[in-house]
Structure formats: structure tokens, C-alpha cells
Symmetry: none
Subunit: 278 residues, 2 copies
Amino acid sequence: MANVEMLTNGQFQAVYNVLSLALAAMGATTIFLLVVQARVLPRYRVAVVVSAMVCLIAAYHYFRIFNSFSDAYVAIEAGAPGVQDSYQLVKGVGFNEGYRYVDWLLTVPLLLFETIAVLALPRAVRSSLLWKLIPASALMIILGFPGEITNEIAPKAVWGALSTIPFIYILYVLFVELSRAAKSQPNQVGKELAGLRWLLLATWGVYPISYMFPMFGLDGADSFVYRQIGYSVADVLAKCLFGLLIYKIARIKSFDDDPAFEAQETKDIPVKKADASA
Amino acid sequence: MANVEMLTNGQFQAVYNVLSLALAAMGATTIFLLVVQARVLPRYRVAVVVSAMVCLIAAYHYFRIFNSFSDAYVAIEAGAPGVQDSYQLVKGVGFNEGYRYVDWLLTVPLLLFETIAVLALPRAVRSSLLWKLIPASALMIILGFPGEITNEIAPKAVWGALSTIPFIYILYVLFVELSRAAKSQPNQVGKELAGLRWLLLATWGVYPISYMFPMFGLDGADSFVYRQIGYSVADVLAKCLFGLLIYKIARIKSFDDDPAFEAQETKDIPVKKADASA
């Protein structure tokens, strides 16, 4: 997709600040998850560590995206000196949208991996689910890219439609096959898992909508700004919030597996006992 | 090898994004392996830590390669402002391919070291294998370099052939001598080890093929782009995926050595017992 030529001061600031917000959120979630991963039973740690890696990879890409964006535009003065009225695309630099696709190519398979890993399913079930989800997710992203970089409507629609096929397959595996496999999970985990899947559906839904903006004739600076904000907010929810939910599920399952661990980690049980005896 | 004078926008973006992808993958795998190395028995940890160091060294070099590449070319406008039609080599800067050879000189011996280390063979066997593999791998890379930097076909072929001799010797040691030494490994480890060797053969095979491009008359910008993508993808597989397989083997061997450790680290055993009794 060709870069937008001109942004108003407000448009530039909105994108600039939301990109920085995403970078800060990704970085902090990375460190948080790395520090707390030891607070779940060993069998759930890989899910939490992989969640941290997703945020780390995204933090790296937001750092690159932020720099690419701020290098790509230069303020043009109009009116009183010092008042920047607009931002002009710098010739020969350009804002690289490719980073987002590289990021998704690495992080989306990992997000699906952590979703499966946190359930500690029997090895054969886990392996079968991953062999379905991970290739499908890579295919979904690879098929979307040619549509993202073109400005023509027809190929955009074709690539978008092709990319939707693996997306629907992933939803089928997550909502039908995974439900079957996760039946034996504790009640509270079932609820959290449902939340995880709906979060995934809601945030991943932002990407195709943003992708289709140019097909609806939304093609100017406003569309660009909404797309950047939409992608960034969706990324923060799909990676940071998602990672924190993975950690929450890992905690619930750890407590469910080992009451002694729960007693040590929370004060709930001893406090209640003390209250009852008092 | 002389740098390519001109790249189209698409060619430049492809190399730029694949270099960034490799950097992100190497960095995240480094941190991941450093965090999870404690999750194998102490006797296997050195193999996992060395795998992390391989990824760290490669991350450093991809950072340098990425910067070297993006500094070496400048966008040239042709047509509408903001539309980058091509990238021109900046005079007096140049893209440094030497980083790749320095990287391989450090990481290839370490990759062979981690392959042997994770098997926890008897000291004498391990030492004998390493004394064969490590000097051969250094020789292989040193002999390849003069052929890489020349544009003439004859010396390229001679250095390539010389470099192939230690390569074939390494394959002999890995596929014949190592098989003999690893006979007493658990079944599952035998399978993983076979996977490791084939991954090594498949990824290392990319390097001589890329090296030979100019000998087949593939010498322009396309050849340059395919070579960069080929090297980068091969590096990600040969270092990140390879390191993760080393970790997997270390886990399998840890579980095999100590069932109590397995029970604590996975839920497979307790879950099955619980299901059976339910």
C-alpha cells in the first residue's frame, strides 16, 4: 500500500502516540510475564514464557514501526513560526508496513501454541491440535500479505478471500475440536478458555476490517490513521491481554493441581480457616 | 562479491524485512532458551545455554547486517513523490557480507558442540567427536570465504571444492561415527537426533547452493535477493529451530533419566492416572 502523502498534525500525533503506547505495553508485559512465570507449576511455565516471547517480538516490531513512522514524515510549517500544521511524507524514505506482517508471521503461531500449551492436554491431543493450527495460521498471514501491499481492489479481494479460508479453519479447530479436547478441564478453566477464544476472535476480527478499508473507498489519511490505531489496539489486546489471561489460566490450573501450592501462593485458604476458627 | 548496483522497491523490501525477521527470531529464541535452560537436568544445560549463545551471536550479526544493508542503499524517486521506484547502492558505503562468515565461524562449531553435548556421551567419545567436528567446521568456513568474495568463476570453484572436503567429512562423522556412538540412546532420542541431522543437512545445503548462484550465471539483483533470503531462512532454521530441537532432546533425556522430574514437569503421567482411576 502506498504511503499517505500528508497527515495533519493531529493525525500524525495520534499514530505516533498509539505506536509508542503499544511499544510500552508490549515491553512491560514481556518483563512482567518473565518475572511471574516461576509462580505457576513447571508444567504450565512454557505457555507463560512463550506469551512473554510474543510480547518481546511485538515490542521489537513496534520499536521498528515507531522509528519507521517518525522517520517517514517531516513537519511542515504553515502559519506562525513553530506551529506545525501538517506532516509531509519524506521523499525516498517511506513507512514500512511489512514489519506488521513479519510480526504476525512469528507471533500468531506462537499465540496458538501458548493457548494449547496452557491446557496441558495429553501429548497426542496437543500435538494433533498444533499440527492443524500452526500451518493454518502461517498460511493465513502469508496469503494476506499480497493483498495488503496492493492498491487494486480485485487482487485485494481475492487474496483476502484466500486468507479467510485458513482463518475459518482455525476458528473451527478452536471452537469445535478444542472444546471437545478441553472437556476434562476444571470448570473455572473452561470459562477462562471461552474468554480467551472470544478475545482472539474479537481482536483478530480487527485485522480483516482494517484490511478492507480501501475496498470500501476509505483510502485517505483518515483511513490510514484508523488502520494504524486499529492494528495497534488489536495487537495490545491480542498479545498483552491475551498473555495475561494465559498466566491467569496457568495459575488456576496450578492451584487446581496442587492445593499445597495454592496455599503457599495465596492467603485465601489460611485466612478463611483462621476466620472460621475465630 | 561485488554489491548489486540497483534494487527495485520490492527487492529492497523483501531483503529488508527478511533480515529484520531473522533478527527478531534470533533475539526471541536467545531469551527463550536462557529462561528454559533450568527446565532440564543440570547435565544437559550446557547444550541449551550454548544454543542460546548461537542465537545471541546470530542476533548481533543480523543487527549489523540489517544496518549495513539499509545504510548501503538509498531510495531513488521516479514518478510521483513518495513512490519509491528503486534503490541505488550508495557510493563508498557497501553492504558487508563478511558479517555472515564471521557469524558462521563462531556459530557453526558451537552448533556442532551443542549437538554432541546434548547426548551426554561418555567423556572420551564426546571429546573424540568434537576434535574431529570442530576443526573441520572452521576449515570449511575459512576455505569458503575467498570464493565468496571473488567474482571470478575459476577461483570460486576451487575454493568451493576445497571447502566441500571438510563438509563431507563432517557429514561422515555425524551420520556414521555419531550413529555408532549414540546407539545406546533412548528410542525417542534416536528419532530426534535423526531429525537434527537432517535439519542440519537441509539447512547447510542452502549455503553452497546460494554460493554457487554466480557460477550458474545467476548474478544480478534477483540472485542477490534470493541469496539473502536463502541465507536468512537457513540461518533461522539452523539456529532457532535447531536450538529448540536441542532443548526438546534435553527434555526427553531428562525425563528418561529421572521419572520424578518428568512427573513434576509434565502432567502427562498424573493426568493419565487420574483419568484411569476416575
